[in-house]
Amino acid sequence: MTLSVSGLNAHYGPAHILFDVGFEVGEGEVVAFLGRNGAGKSTTFRSLVGLVPRREGRILFRGTDIAAKPTHEIARAGLGYVPEDRRIFTDLTVEENLAVGLQPPRPGAPTWTPERLYALFPNLAEMRRRPGGRMSGGEQQMLTIARTLMGNPSLVLLDEPSEGLAPKIVEQMADAILAMKREGLSVLLSEQNLHFARLISDRAYIIETGRIRFGGTMAELAAQPEIRDAYLAV
């Protein structure tokens, strides 16, 4: 198991946000974290990488409990995180943004180079010298993922990777995620676009008001329309 989370609780100030959240991501698995806006998807991701100050529970990442570790140690352990708001370096070029993300190869995780990433995201290959600030939203999203892969993670968290992107770019994103999976990378992504999630995911969890309401394969989810209806508003 790449990631195994149990009894995760998180708080922002006095507000209790996550309630005993538990889920797993297997090696080389693509898992979708589904739920409405405000359900707790981003808070879960931020808790995993140590960006929520008050969190309790067990977060086993490749056998080590990272629940009490600071963010930079979690990143160095091989857990990559692509936040919703992308955050590229706007003054740096595509090449330079990639160079910033470079980490040594990691045993048991795929090793990436700029050339391999340009093959994964052909749009980026056409603009190696372009400053990040002059790229479109879709290109920036690809660059953030590519920069994270430069750290050679064994698991990446993608927070709403399809949001605000053109349909054609969302399809390219789906292809890229499937290619990442073929390399043996594990992927946990949060999504509201069920069409997209269905294309790429092996399994899904549904989170609602900070609690896990469903966990199962995509086929099991498809067979239970009442669950989709109640928690996803599709």
Partner: protein, 259 residues
């Protein structure tokens, strides 16, 4: 014949030698729902910002009911009846839902000088909240609302200005699928009732194909297609640059089967 609600001719804008928008022409009639779609970075936001005065075009004309409004300041364009909603809703989180609409009504009636007593335009505010289905939430703090409700509140704030034309920049971004379609259905109903023209950008094709009566496609700053949802859906060039294989939106929109 009277002038169309919105008439745009030869609209163009360059940044540092890059042509962001190159000669865009279109018209929109009162009560019409027009979608502007296209790849990320195609120039949609620049177009929007030129229509409501936030960016001055290098060339071209924008006419509202025949009146030239090109290059007017945003607040003057707003006073002439051009409303706008944003990708990230702009509301006052610490005020109640009703107060948010009251502030918009005070501004619309140019009554800011009187101060904000809490009673001003209360009935009018409640009528607008009922219209968007937020009547029950009038007393709640805006910051406590679910995201879909904030977007509906934003619509009622825009309607408080009694707009002739409503510009909506990715109105359903960040919403759950059913909330998205519901928000645009509501917008379309109100717009047709009140003869408001709506121009919106959107990446969710389920929303676009269901609610737009016309679609324009912008690519690299130029319109490459314009027409009914059905015509645009089957346009090979639009598929190549934007729609792709249609795997990430509802199949019935891909095939053109009526809902």
């Amino acid at each position: 014949m009277s002038a169309p609600l919105l008439q745009v001719e030869g609209l163009a804008k360059s940044y540092a030698g890059v042509q962001a928008v190159r000669g865009v022409d279109f018209t929109l009639e009162a009560g019409g729902i027009l979608a502007l779609i296209g790849p990320n970075g195609a120039g949609k936001s620049t177009c929007f910002n030129m229509l409501n005065g936030q960016i001055r075009p290098d060339a071209g004309r924008v006419r509202l009911e025949g009146q030239d409004i090109t290059g007017l300041a945003p607040r003057r364009v707003w006073r002439l009846g051009v409303g706008r909603t944003f990708q990230i809703a702009a509301t006052f989180a610490s005020m109640t839902v009703r107060e948010n609409v009251q502030v918009a009504l005070l501004s619309h009636h140019r009554r800011f000088g009187l101060g904000f007593a809490g009673r001003a335009y209360r009935a009018e505010a409640d009528a607008l909240l009922d219209l968007v289905g937020l009547g029950e939430a009038a007393e709640r703090a805006c910051g406590e609302l679910a995201y879909g409700d904030v977007k509906r509140l934003e619509l009622s704030i825009a309607l408080a200005n009694a707009p002739k034309l409503l510009l909506m920049d990715e109105p359903t971004a960040g919403m759950a699928p059913r909330e998205r379609v519901a928000l645009m259905r509501l917008t379309a109903e109100v717009a047709r009732q009140r003869r408001i023209g709506v121009l919106f950008t959107e990446h969710d094709m389920d929303v676009v194909f269901e609610h737009a009566d016309r679609i324009m496609v912008l690519n690299r700053g130029a319109l490459i297609a314009e027409g009914s949802p059905d015509a645009v859906r089957h346009d090979p060039q639009v598929r190549a640059v934007y729609l792709g294989d249609g795997l990430v939106y509802d199949a019935r929109h891909r095939e053109g089967v009526p809902a």
